[in-house]
Subunit: 223 residues, 2 copies
DNA sequence: TTGTAACGAGATAGAAATACCTGATTATTT
DNA sequence: AAATAATCAGGTATTTCTATCTCGTTACAA
């Protein structure tokens, strides 16, 4: 059993990854045990390794299997491996997910070399490493989340005002007739709107409409 | 301008607060400038202080104005003041809110004295202080959020296994007949279960059932 | 043993939703 | 002026849902 810290690097940007690897191998107390261009490849490599890495540097943004997913898998299947997330500025929105999924550290890609080394040291010896970037990222997370939610789950279709109104009323457990009475229109009209709602949303029935409404913030569940 | 760290303590538990104050005044490098039993009182005191505190120890759980609210106000109106949150175990669910609202450190109330001192030191000199409890709290936050939903809104009625199964399938937009085919029972049977569901939940129709299911964690909306 | 709950299943009806149509009016856009 | 979208509204038919019954079986607890 080596007393050196076994390190792996997972990043799809070859230049960055190899630069990082070169930087790491200059340190006698580190041992590079693996490098991969994405999470999928890395997981395959892991199964063939005799000694698991202690610390894995994982890029947040990768094709195939990104940092978030890899982090989750590692935390579940290889709990002994400590994950340091490498990220570029502006990806704060995923940070709390990463932390919750077991990440031990969050580093901006253009951080100082010394910061990287102390991050690896702390992660290995203390179990985690925090820095001011992490704090700021967390503080910004709320902002990003708010923006994110709108973008990620923005309504994929155009519902007219009337349709939205009626969808809300459907969620309030009103029948078409009750809705028609409240809106002072014929129940056939409501019928038509409801049919359009089903067509537009691609739902099969009321259950689908309710879930759609909740999903896209048209109706809010009071807990 | 004193070179001592100016500290304030806000906690509604008098014994705890005064004990903490006594602990702090034993240190020559600290200067206690204020103490209050809740955020409202503390904010009033602040307006009368000549020198603002550098670091404020804030209890999470207080009447009148709790830690979350006070933290938000301080961060907005007195950005120079650094906030250390004091909490008992189990209040992790609010942590990310606190961090996002500007808290610089999170301490469990039964932490070591040395931990408190290094937290104050780091918060003052570095601007923040993280520890393994913070990390764990963040990791647990997700769990608490999920459990929180279940606990806060625990199902007020007893649904049988069959009823729960059918409720889920209703949320999957299946009709009674489709459900009956999947469960290899008569559609009349599903009918009966559905009627019981409506009776038990007090809902009027499918829309109500879906919302009930989401509300009480029986069905999960994928965003 | 008796009661009770869960589950399954039948009948009967009526209410509601859903699937197709058609068409009119109004407002906005092109 | 013409096209378009939104709203409203009617017809017809089918399917599904909901209410209200009754009943049998099984399992479990008092």
């Amino acid at each position: 059993m080596s007393d050196r810290i076994r390190i792996a690097v997972v990043d799809d940007q070859n230049l960055f990854r190899e630069g990082l690897v070169n930087l790491l191998v200059t340190r006698p107390d580190y041992q590079l045990v693996a490098q991969a261009e994405n999470g999928k490849v890395f997981l395959e490599q892991l199964t063939r390794l005799e000694n698991l890495p202690d610390v894995v540097l994982v890029d947040m943004n990768m094709p195939e299997m990104n940092g978030v997913e890899l982090n989750a898998v590692l935390h579940k299947d290889y709990p002994s491996i400590k994950v340091i997330i490498l990220s570029v500025h502006g990806e704060e929105r995923y940070l709390s997910k990463m932390i919750e999924a077991g990440a031990c550290c969050y580093l901006i890609k253009n951080c100082e070399t010394s910061e990287l080394f102390s991050a690896i040291h702390n992660t290995y010896h203390v179990g985690f490493h925090f820095n001011i970037e992490t704090l700021n990222a967390m503080r910004n997370a709320a902002k990003y989340r708010k923006q994110g939610l709108k973008n990620v789950s923005s309504i994929p279709i155009n519902l007219s005002d009337r349709e939205t109104t009626i969808l809300k009323m459907i969620c309030d457990e009103l029948t078409n007739i009750e809705i028609s009475e409240k809106l002072f229109v014929s129940s056939r009209t409501v019928d038509g709107h409801r049919t359009n709602l089903l067509t537009k949303t691609g739902c099969k029935n009321t259950a689908g409409l309710v879930i759609f409404a909740i999903k896209y913030g048209i109706f809010e569940v009071k807990f």
